[in-house]
Amino acid sequence: MKYYLSTKFKIEYLLFLSACFLIVRCSDTSEVYKLGKNEKISPGKINNAIHEEIAVTPPPFSDGVFPCNDCHAFRKPSPVRRKLEWHEDITDMFNHDSENRWCLDCHDLVKRDSLRLASGKLLDFKESYKLCGQCHGDKLRDWKVGVHGKRTGEWNGKKQYYLCVSCHNPHSPKFKSIKPEAPPFREDESIK
């Protein structure tokens, strides 16, 4: 037996669905509303918030090091794991699971201006966070929502993301100690 929905029934069905949707939405916002103590708050505005994030900080290359192909185009690529004769500054500081990893775990052998995921997929340096996220997945997740790392800009609008490599040197990622600013005066010093 064939069963067709009549047009009228369809409209009623749609109305019912939208009513359900509205009820769900309202109960959601009322929950949000409970958080605030002040009577003036109108929860309607909450959903107008613009959540826009742009990674505008370029990767912090040292001077003259990029594009890599300026030099590497003239050198024969070798996949053999070894101590490099070049890039002493990097090999000297390298401290990022250095027993088990070396250059070609992140850099591509042939396409020198790209990074390389474990899957073999090539990656622009601007997307380096995806490479870091292969191992540090929990940090990547927190970074995406703005909890790990730093954002500047507007709390409710345009923000600027910093890449992982803006704070962590990818070849030696541990944070370096820094000099603290001056301590406050002792109380007897500050009252004159």
């Binding site: 949000v32 509303y33 958080l35 605030g36 103590k37 002040n38 003036k40 708050i41 109108s42 929860p43 309607g44 505005k45 909450i46 918030a49 959540h51 927190d142 929502v145 703005g146 909890v147 790990h148 790392g149 730093k150 954002r151 500047t152 800009g153 507007e154 709390w155 409710n156 609008g157 910093y162 704070c167 944070f175 100690s177 820094i178 000099k179 603290p180 600013e181 001056a182 301590p183 406050p184 005066f185 002792r186 500050s190 009252i191 004159k192």
Partner: protein, 299 residues
């Protein structure tokens, strides 16, 4: 016959004396601006026009004093906003960058010194223990082995005791949750400082000194405008900046990204993510002050 005692002589004398006193105050050098300021009402009872007048006078006064064009706003709280703050204790390295970014943004007195943010160094073995914390630590490099750091500033309580005790209602909680002070109405009794369990309020014991080249001329009436001797001041989450939509100065300067700020009523905000997903604590929870300043462990 006895002559009746004439009291009117004495009465007239006193009347004339008081008239003379009032007249001499009005005519003396203190000027109409000071008189106007003296007679100014509580900020919350002022009309739009009165506020605009006061702000115009203040801008003129500050511009003359610091030789820079000053802006003072009275931007009110936006609807649907309640500010919250979170600080990642697992990241803070105690470098005090936030302390001085705050001083600069909020025009705190350099001498006598006022800091809204106190960074407390605590021993990892003792945990959060105010009695054994140190605010004057000064090694060559931070962080130091075996220590962690707890920056403390106004906790922007939902249940603020400082506003309760103010005898003249010169301090109150704004609709977006920020506790502010009307410096012109404050009488300097410091009850609020006694009531605050976090030591977050600071008194101007002397006339504040800020070098003219370091003054921040973008100010809010209830926030970072220059203060005077004898009034209490405090962190306002950088009222001027956050009501313009920007992050507070301490958030922007933190070199390790330990400081997070946002709208508690926005389910998509960083702050709500932290409350939902991280291990969070507030200071002195047992006092029921209900801070909107949360500490969390990001790792």
């Amino acid at each position: 016959m006895k002559k009746p005692v004439n009291y009117s002589g004495r009465r007239n004398f006193l009347k004339n004396l008081s008239l003379f006193a009032v007249g001499s105050i009005a005519l003396s050098g203190c000027g109409s601006a000071t008189m106007k300021e003296f007679l100014q009402k509580n900020f919350r009872t002022l009309s739009k026009k009165e506020k605009d007048d006061i702000i115009k006078d203040l801008e003129k006064k500050y511009t003359a004093r610091y030789g820079k064009e000053f802006h003072v706003t009275d931007e009110p709280a936006a609807d649907g906003v309640e500010f919250g703050y979170a600080l990642d204790l697992s990241r803070c390295i105690g470098c005090r960058r936030c302390v001085y970014a705050c001083v600069k943004e909020n025009n705190q007195s350099r001498d006598p010194q006022i800091h809204y943010i106190q960074v407390l160094q605590m021993e990892k073995e003792k945990g959060i223990d105010f009695a054994h914390s140190d605010v004057h630590y000064n090694p060559d490099l931070v962080p130091e082995e075996g220590y962690f750091y707890v920056p403390v500033q106004c906790q922007q309580c939902r249940n603020p005791q400082c506003t309760e005790v103010c005898p003249v209602k010169a301090t109150w909680q704004e609709p977006d949750g920020i506790v502010v002070v009307d410096y012109n109405w404050c009488i300097g009794c410091r009850y609020c400082m006694a009531a605050c369990p976090y030591g977050a309020r600071h008194f101007n014991w002397g006339e504040p000194h800020i070098p003219a080249e370091e003054i921040n001329p973008e100010t809010h009436y209830l926030g970072n405008r220059p203060r005077m001797k004898g009034v209490v001041e405090k962190c306002t989450f950088c009222l001027k900046r956050v009501r313009d939509g920007k992050y507070p100065a301490c958030v922007e300067v933190c070199p390790v990204g330990a400081r997070k700020f946002g709208n508690l009523l926005d389910p998509e905000s960083e702050i709500r993510y932290i409350l939902a997903n991280k291990r969070v604590l507030v200071l002195k929870q047992e006092l029921n002050t209900q801070p909107k300043f949360y500490y969390f462990f990001g790792v």
